[in-house]
């Protein structure tokens, strides 16, 4: 039966005639040219953007490794943290910056050397 046969819809085919189709394709290309141009300029940046997560992860790991290395080096050299009291004592300013004790002053050296007796 004819219902089994394809319908001739070639008159609706947008790819014919070829010149009209070329015109349609050109219209699409013109309409999309802005987006394509944007893609061409963004493409190199997109590559960086594509790698940003691995780069950030690597940077984070590097920071952790640096911190660990710094701590280990610090331990090896015996450098210890010096508090502000010790600095004040070393400068002989502990009596000035002291806690308001009016008793005869004893210098840190006196205390350390045991030469001071109240």
């Amino acid at each position: 039966m004819n219902e089994e046969l394809p319908t001739d819809l070639s008159a609706l085919d947008p790819t014919h005639p070829p010149l009209a189709f070329a015109h349609r394709v050109k219209n699409v290309r013109t309409a999309a040219s802005g987006a394509l141009r944007k893609r061409r300029t963004v493409a190199p940046l997109a590559m960086v953007a594509h790698w940003r997560v691995p780069l950030l992860a690597a940077l984070f790991l590097l920071m952790i490794a640096s911190a660990a290395l710094f701590r280990s080096v610090q331990g090896d050299t015996g450098i210890e943290t010096v508090g502000t009291d010790e600095v004040a004592d070393a400068l002989g300013a502990s009596s000035v910056l002291g806690d308001g004790d009016d008793s005869p002053s004893a210098t840190p050296a006196d205390i350390l050397l045991g030469g001071y007796e109240q």
Partner: protein, 190 residues
């Protein structure tokens, strides 16, 4: 006869278009224009509207190409965009100015007589197609104009192959009643 090497697959073209390659995009447009048009015409029932929607859909596609998760299935993704654009276009359809038709007529390559006859025939077909349901229209256009198989149609429209065949049968029957047998192509290999 073209060898497979000269026909780049959609995935390659999509990859190049992602980098802004206009030639690759051109090939995608030429390759899938008819399919996109069939879908748009199926939804809208009007050639001029369908052409506008197809153009709009291609621009949208190139703009959001990253969203095409499976570049090898670009055409399915494109059809989804075309269908959505066509549905919105139908909802907000506006009256068009006839001046938009002028450039196409001016650039037709056949004689004025052939162009007129073709245009008249296209109008007749469009009127006949308008009497079909949306799904019947889309199926008959994809199958008879774009050469899709029932399997591809079924996958695209999420229906069974049997249902696709039934729709096509009814669509052809209705078209034949409206157009007469003279407009039916007698294919011996179908």
């Amino acid at each position: 006869m073209s060898s497979p090497a000269t026909i780049p697959p959609d995935a390659d073209l999509v990859s190049r278009a992602l980098r802004g390659d206009a030639d690759a995009f051109d090939v995608l447009v030429r390759r899938h224009y008819r399919t996109a048009f069939a879908v748009a015409l199926g939804v809208l029932g009007n050639r001029q509207d369908a052409e506008d929607v197809v153009q709009d859909a291609f621009v949208k596609a190139v703009d959001r190409l990253e969203d095409c998760r499976e570049p090898s299935k670009f055409v399915q993704w494109l059809m989804m965009i075309v269908r959505n654009r066509a549905l919105s276009h139908r909802t907000y359809r506006k009256i068009r100015e006839t001046s938009e038709l002028v450039p196409e007529i001016a650039e037709a390559d056949d004689s004025p007589f052939v162009d007129a006859a073709r245009s008249e025939l296209a109008d007749t077909l469009q009127s006949a197609l308008a009497t079909l349901s949306e799904v019947q229209r889309e199926i008959v256009l994809l199958h008879d104009m774009d050469g899709w198989t029932h399997k591809d149609i079924a996958d695209s429209l999420e229906i069974t192959e049997v249902r696709s065949r039934q729709h096509l049968f009814v669509a052809r029957k209705l078209l034949r009643e409206r157009l007469g047998p003279s407009l039916l192509r007698e294919y011996s290999n179908e």
